[in-house]
Amino acid sequence: MPHTLIKLKDPTLLLTADPLPVWTEKILNLTSYVIVRRGEQQDRIPVGIRGFQKSQRFGTWIHPDNWLAAVTPQQALQYLPKLSSTRRQLKPFQTLDAITPLLKTYEWGVGGSLAYELVTGIEMARPESDVDVIMTLPKQRITPHEAQHLIAELRTIMGAHADIQMVQGQYGFSLEEYAAQRTAEILVKTNEGPILSQDPWQLMTEMDD
């Protein structure tokens, strides 16, 4: 599923026509973890390699057998106690600790640079890094009003924007957009590209996973 970190069996076996940027080699020498991207997964799994710079992102594919371990956003949280006390004092990790009690009734995890650092041990998070919350769509619908309340609570801890992505399989939408109700339709990211939906909750609840 998207946002899951997977450890490659053989990091040199990437299915790509484009030449690999030089920085990817450096990072793959440090870790063999890559991040699953959205997209069709029939014969190959779309993955992304991330570097230390924000502009260093490279999309490629792997053979469905070329992996040893997978860590979901939810499982990435279990690595928090292993983080050194110095790194744990970094602002985004503090934020992550602070929002945990608010989200205890939900199935959620963390993505982005925080998940990457937690799992690989590579110091990827920065003081200004975003906390990307990945939440499994709850069976019980959260009304836009309830979502507004949760977003407001999270904002007091996370700052101006609370980036909560509601996911089901490969589908995902922003809880902030759902709560704001500024437009009749909400953007839903899918394996076949983004779509607009009047009721993403309904759409994703009806999905077979």
């Binding site: 924000k54 990307d132 980036d163 902030e176 957009e177 500024r182 953007l187 779509i195």
Partner: protein, 99 residues
């Protein structure tokens, strides 16, 4: 972070502001404001550097179809061209709905 500026010839003025999208990874927000200028002005702030040509490509196609005369403010957080396109389309829907 990179700041990009574009100007396009445009003929269709708007009379109220529109705001679509969100500040979130892999997404963007698009703000349209009425303008007194002759054409469309775009100010894009993007977290992903080095995609000027990709933006140009997406915007050329957009203004071919919708010559919207407005001030565009776009804050991009690593959205794919597909997401950019759909957010721009959504802004057009929002304009239509409210007019």
């Amino acid at each position: 972070m990179e700041k990009l500026h574009f100007n396009y010839k445009a003929t269709q003025p708007i009379d109220h502001p529109v705001h679509v999208g969100v500040v979130a990874s892999g997404d963007l927000e698009v703000l349209l404001r009425p303008t007194d200028k002759d054409g469309a002005e775009l100010a894009i702030v993007t977290g992903s550097d080095g995609f000027k040509e990709t933006w140009e490509h997406v915007l050329d196609r957009f203004f071919d179809r919708y010559p919207i005369k407005a001030n565009f403010e776009i804050n991009d957080f690593g959205a794919t061209p597909g997401v950019v396109n759909l957010r721009l389309t959504q802004a057009m829907e929002a304009l239509k709905d409210e007019q």
